[in-house]
Every structure is written in C-alpha cells, then in structure tokens.
Symmetry: C4
Subunit: 273 residues, 4 copies
C-alpha cells in the first residue's frame, strides 16, 4: 500500500506535472531553454552575427537539441500510452523541435537549407503546451469556440467585401496605378480593410480615392463585429459562473451556481458551500 513510487512514476510526475514544486520547476526550465534556443536562431539569421559567431551558435544549437532529445526520450519512456503521445499534436511538435538539427548533421548540405533551419522555429509551439494548463486560456478558447459560427459568418462577409472592393478598384485604377491584377487589387483591399495600410499600393485617381474612403469607413463597422461578438461571449461566460458540481444521478456537469436540482434529470444536486 505505502509502496514507494517507481522511478518511471516519479519521472512522469516531474515531466508531466505542472502544479507541484519539481514539476513546475521542470516546466520553467524547459520554457527558458526553448526561448534561449529560439533566440539563438534569431541571432543566427542576422548575416553579420552569423559571419562572426556562426560556429558558436551552431554549437549552442547542438546543445539545445541534445537537451530536447533527452527530454523527448524521457517523455516517451515514462508516458503510460506511448503511441498516443508520439502521434499527439504535442508529441509531433516535440519531434519537430529536434528533427531539423539531426537532418542537418546527417544529410550533407541540409544545414544550409533555409527550410530546415526555419523549421526549428516551430519549437515555439511547445510553449503552448504549458498554456494548455492555464484556466484563463480555457476561458478564452471556450469563448472563441462558442463564437465560432458567428466569426465564420463575419469572415465570409469580410472576404466578399474585400473581393468586391478589390475588383472595383482594379476597374477604376487599373494596372497603371499599381492595381496590376485582381489578386493584387484584393491584396490591397485586405491591407486597407484591416487598416494595416502599407501604402505600397494606394489609389491615385480621385474616383479611386473616393471608393477607397468608402471602403475604409465600411471597415469601421466591420472591426466592430468580431470585438462585439467576443465581448458578448466573454461577458456571458463571466456571468454564467458555472459551478463545478456534478449530478450524483446522471453524472452531468454544467449546472449554474444557483441551481438546486439537476436541469437534465431533475435529481437534487449535492449541496455546496
């Protein structure tokens, strides 16, 4: 009964745990190494730094990859269901974090392939794994999830608007003023409607500027839509204050804080303070 936990079990606690001391410290150490390795990739991509410290940064990359490999193997070793972990989203991200470096070692020339080097940046996704455990992230994701349909309606409207305005400007301004094709005009419309406004393509004719001004003012109401959707959703979420109690009878969750009886089966809910 008071059996000592196995090494495997202890490792699992440290590597996958997030609440208690060692698990938490392990997580923080991993995040720091991830950020350091991504920062090294950033520096390496600057031509001047690469010329001077390229060798040093490559050694650092090897060290980081070694650490990530040890961590990856340790995770595989102590996880209960290995297959499930390896093919899970985070298992694949963990693999992608180390694969490009091995490719660049074993395949001659691969190190110089930009794609191989850029792929390493994807290890930043590993930080999301930690985010995964945060309650706040759950609330935000649930709000995004439940406003999914409304947001897709909004996106269809934006895409249509952008196509119509882009086509109109292609007709009005024409290739002479930078609106050289429909896709380019639509790119302009996206840049304008999202209020980014690079200015690499801008209307030159009076007519084009008038239509562009209309598109900008229209984009105002459009920016308001996703914000309104998400605000409404987050407010509903915060007002709902769903209790964590479970019905003893039908085992369902999701009861309001002020509920005395299960809304699904009518059984009395356990009393909470």
């Amino acid at each position: 009964m008071s059996q000592k936990p196995s090494l495997k079990h202890k490792m699992h606690e440290v590597i996958f745990g997030t609440e208690k001391g060692p698990g938490r410290n392990f997580d923080i150490a991993v995040i720091i190494i991830i950020l350091a390795s991504v920062f090294a990739l950033f520096l390496d991509s600057v031509a001047a730094i690469n010329a001077k410290y390229g060798h040093l940064l490559f050694t650092a990359e090897l060290a980081f990859t070694f650490l990530f490999t040890v961590e990856y193997l340790a995770r595989i070793y102590c996880v209960p269901n290995r297959k499930k972990y390896i093919f899970s989203f985070y298992g694949l991200v963990d693999l992608i974090a180390i694969l490009p470096t091995y490719l660049s070692i074993f395949i001659p020339g691969a190190q110089h392939l930009l794609v191989v080097r850029i792929f390493r940046v994807l290890r930043i996704f590993r930080i999301f794994k930690l985010l995964h455990y945060m309650i706040e992230a759950h609330v935000l994701l649930r709000s995004l999830e439940s406003s999914r349909h409304k947001i897709s309606v909004f996106l269809v409207a934006v895409v249509t608007l952008v196509i119509v305005f882009g086509s109109l400007m292609y007709l009005i301004e024409g290739p002479g003023n930078g609106f050289s094709s429909l896709p380019k005009s639509i790119y302009w419309a996206v840049v304008t409607v999202t209020t980014v406004g690079y200015g690499d393509i801008a209307p030159q004719t009076a007519m084009g500027q008038a239509v562009a001004a209309m598109a900008m003012i229209t984009s105002y109401a459009i920016i308001a839509i996703p914000t309104g959707i998400l605000s409404a959703e987050l407010i509903r979420e915060s007002q709902r204050q769903i209790s964590q109690q479970q019905c003893n009878s039908c085992k369902k969750l999701g009861h309001d804080k002020n509920a005395n009886y299960c809304k699904y089966c009518g059984a009395q809910l356990p009393v909470t303070e």
Copy 2:
C-alpha cells in the same frame, strides 16, 4: 395521400432545400463551383498567366457558365412563383453571374471589355444566399439592424470630423505638401481617422503634424463608438436568448434552453419545440 412527389417538387427540394442530405450536398457543390470560377477569374487577370493559359481559362469560364445556366434554368423551372424569383435580389445575382459571358460570346469585342469581365466577380454574392439560412448571420444582422440609428449618428459625426480636420489641414499644409485640394485633404483625413495610414499624403509642417496627432487621438474615441454600440446590442441579443419558459411548479423563470427540469424545484419543465 401517400402520393409520390412530382419531379418538380423533388427538384425544388434538392435545389432550394438546405437541411436534408441532397439539398445540402447540392449547396456545397454550388459553393465549390462558385469559388472555382471566381478563382479562375483571379488567375485570368494576372497578365503572365493570361498570356500562357488564357485559352484554357476561357474554356473553363464557358464550362462554369454552362453549369450556372443549367442551375438558373432549373431554379426558374421548379420555383412556385417564377416572376418573384427572377426579380428577387438573388434571382438577379444568379442572372448577373452568367450574363457577362454570353455578352462576350455574342457581342464581338465585348470579351476584352474590362467591365464585362469584372462583372463576373459579382457571382461571389451568390454565396450570401447560403449565409442567408444560417442562424448566426440572422443574429448579427438583427444586431446591426437594431443599432442602425446609433451607427448612422456615428457616421454623421465621423463625416463631419473628417471634413473639419481635412479643411484645417488644407489650410495649414496647402498644395505644396500634397494637400492639393479639399477633396484630397478629406481623403487624407479618412485615411488617418480610420487608422489606415498609407503615408502617400502625410503632414510635413510642425503645425500640421500637431493637428494630425490630435486627429489621431480623437479617432481613438471614435473607433470605440461602433464597437461599443455593437457589443451592447449583441449582449442584449444573447440575453434575450435565455428561454422564456416558466416552471409549472414554482413559477420561476430563467432556465437554460437545454434544461429539462427546473433548477430551483426539480419539477419537469414544459416541453418546447
């Protein structure tokens, strides 16, 4: 009584239905064809692609037009009130989707008219027809509808602000710095107040930059207005969605839409459709 539905009736179900299997599949097929045909128009507008694959894309356009024509005729055939459909918004959009191609076939030279070719892009509006059936779109449209008056007040305020700031900058900067006329200065004001900021026209004098900075900070409060209006409207809308059913036993209100039993007294709630 168990009379077999006529062909016309069956066709109507497939073409106009959206819920059931064949109606849904038909809708999805139409959307894919619409998107493919719009994508072909995009490609055709790129000079390099047009030079190489222009003939192929024209053939594709003919095929798309043929499909749309068949669909259009089928809709006219099986709709109960033909006149109403033909002159409805979507009936006209369906016609506009095929007309330009016929014009370009039968009128020599029309194919090279840019307007005729751009007109075809309007078939993207046909996708809205599908949106029309989505409940989420209804909620958004109802919210926009009921905040119509507030939004028009906001637009009058924006237009006035833009005219005043534009005129002021025309006075301060003058034609020498790109503010060559009142309409152009107002175009600058729209670009600035909507935070698009192309940079094609930008204040050069210290005075002009100070006034521009003021216009930008003012535009902050302005962006907040439509978002606030729509948020308030969407929240009101979402609060309205709480079921209006009353418990027969304790007479209390405020039950969730998915509740079967009263959360206050445990009595079964009356069944609603």
Copy 3:
C-alpha cells in the same frame, strides 16, 4: 381660444419644428442645401475645376448664401428670445455660414484669402443641429458624458506613454534616421500607438525596431481601454432602462422601470402601464 395662430407662430413651427410634416420637410430641404453648398466648396478647391467652372461655382455660392441669409433672418424674426438665439452655439454657426461670403464681396481681395474660403466649410456643423433632436445621439452623448472621467484618465496615460516612447526613440534612433527632435519623435509615437503608421518616419536600427515593436504591442492594450469603457457604459445605459415617470412629490426624474416608490423622497410613484 380657437384663435388662429399668427404668421410668426406658424413660421416658428415650420423652421424650428422637426416632428410634423412641414417642419420635417423644411429640415430636409436645409440639409440638402447645406450638403450641396459644401460639395460646391469641395469642387471649387480643385485647381482644374476652379479654372474651368470657378465663375459658375461663385454664382452658386452667392445663391446658397442668399438662401442661408433668408433662413437666418427668418429664424431671428420668429424666435421668441432673439438675443439668446443669436449668441447660442447654433446661432453663431448660422452666422458663420454666411459671413465669409459677405466679407469676400465687400472687402476687395478677401475672396482670394484661403482662410475666408475655408471658414465656409464650417457650415457643415449646421447639420449637427438636426442630430441634436435624435434620441440615439442623446444616448451616445450621455454615455460619452458619463465615461468622461475614465476617458480623460486614458488620455493622460496615452500622452505619457507617447512622450516616454518618443523620447526613448529620439535617444536610440537620433536625427540621422528622421527622429530629428523630441516633438517629431513624439509625433512618430502618436502615429505608431494609434496604429495609423504612415511610414514617413520609421525606426532603422535593430534596437529602435525592437522598442517600436514593444510600443505597438503596448498600444494593443491601450486601444482596448476606450472601447471597453464605452461598451460597459452603453450596456449599463441599455440595461438601466430608466422610466420617464416623475415623482409627484419631489418632482425628480431618473427612476428605474421597476420602481414603485421614489428613491429620493419615498413617495409612491404614479402607476404606469
């Protein structure tokens, strides 16, 4: 008792009334004339149009001014308290709408003064007078009014942020990269924080770009503040649904819809349907 209303009274009803037929039609006519006269000013400011149609537009301006003068005199004639009207905001706007044209007629050369011509644009403010009667505008203004303090706190924070980021960038980038003085650097900070982003001044050094990126991400939280303030205010406004009933005892207004007794003096409120 059934005395016929005087001409003065009838005129007052038409000119100042907004609800009934003739008053409403008069308002619409005035708005159309204002918009037409402002549009004429726009056209006149375009050099090419002025060269060709300058004389015609000047004649139109004279006609518009004549109409506005007749209206102004009629308003003075039929208003009960003449002094109050003349020195009210809208009385002064009405005067400013006609004054510049008379100046340009009676003072030789004044017509060519840009200031005199631009001043005429201010007649656009006359449209606000109509807005004044709209209930929706009242709700928006009341919301802006009651969030006045919060918005000024926000503005102080923005101004401080802009000064700190502007000074920092002046230090980092220096005059060589366009940040030629503190005011100019602060102008850049305003352009950046409000997400306008002209690109006339942009950071060139790696350090400057890093600080600029920080300023941009900070500006995110900042845009959220006024929107959040106004959303909260508009929602409160819409939930409050203050009844229009007046306490018979203390004559105070502002009772909630569900109130039975005056919250100020405790007297029973008149029953409403």
Copy 4:
C-alpha cells in the same frame, strides 16, 4: 486639544493633500510647472530653436530645477517617514526630475550628453502621482489587474503568432525583398499584426502577399480579444458598483448608490458612508 497645527503639519497638508483648497491649488501649480518644463525640453530639442533660444531655455531649465528642488526638499522635510518616501517610486521620480540638471552643471560636458537631457523628460511621470488619487484611475487599474492573466495568455498567443508568421515570410520573401533576417521579419510581423503598417518592409511576391493577407485577417480576431476581455471586466466592475445595502423593511437588494428610500416599498434605506 485646540492646539495649533505645527508648520510641518500645515506644509504636509498643502503638499500632500489633494482634496482641500490649498492642497488642490498646490497640485495644479505643480502640474503646470511640470508641463511647462517638459514643453521647454521639447522646444530645446529642435535644432533651429536651440540655436536661437538655447541660452534662454537653459535658464528656464535652471529655474524649473530650482522649483522642483525646493519642492523635493519640502516633501522630505514634512513627510512622516522620510526613508520610505525617498525610496518610494514617486520619491525616486521626484529625484530623477532634478538630478540630470545638477549633473550637467557640476560635471563638465554632461550637459551635451543626450541621455542626460532625455532623462529629464521622465519628470512627466510625476503627473501620474496626481492620477493616483483619481477614483476612475483605480477602477481602470483594478480592471487591468483582474484581467492580468487573460491578457498575458493573449500576449503569449500574439508573440507565437508573430514568430510563426515572421519566420514564414522570411522563408517566402527572403533578404532580397527586405526580409533580411528573422528579427527583421518578426518586426514586420509585429508592424502588420498590430495594423500599424508602416510599409517600410512589405511583401513583394504573390505568395508573400497571400500569407500577409492571411496574417492581417487573423490579426482581426486578435484585436478583438483584449477589447473583449477588458469590456467584460469593466462591465463586471460597474455591476459590482450597485450598492450592497438592503432595505430594512422589505429586505430587497439592488438599490442605486444615490437612493435614500427603497424603490420597492418606500421605506427609508439605512445610511451608508
């Protein structure tokens, strides 16, 4: 008992008080001097003005520093806990407001160091001290405080997105089109996702423009997140403000803060401070 307050006590009231007459006037005087001294720094940084009025502005700076020194010493004199004040945030800001000028007087050449001169701008933070006393600022800060976790989740998401999009564009566009390194590409991504859009770096290839358009549309949903978070928080905050007092007679809650009588039964409400 009716002992006369000491000079120290009186000074403390004037310098640290904010509500009553002399304390309030003192605060306003300090704010005006701060703004004037910051404005003088702005002017001094413009090369043309410095060349002409540099001596005058330096004299003004000496005068401002003298006033701030007197104020700083007076604060130290009359504050109850001197050590605590000196090492508090505002104590340090007060010191920083005067230190650079003394450095530039006593250390030869220091006056020409840009850092020393820019440091003076930090005295703008002294204005925050006043903000500190405003209730509205407290509400805003409390809302920001309680949405701290949600906002940090949002920031992690933004940073990840910006890194992924930046790396992708570095791969697609490459150094030839301005995306010369990973940090620079990420700077571009920040400029784009925050909708600032300088246009100093902009995608040139069709592929790059398509990815950029996707990044822009994604940034839409992202702008909605902090606004939604803060709106929800401010609404919760404003709903909390409804007084918690209960009617002694009918035991109902939900009375406005300014209510003297119960709106349900007309009984007098208990007096709250």
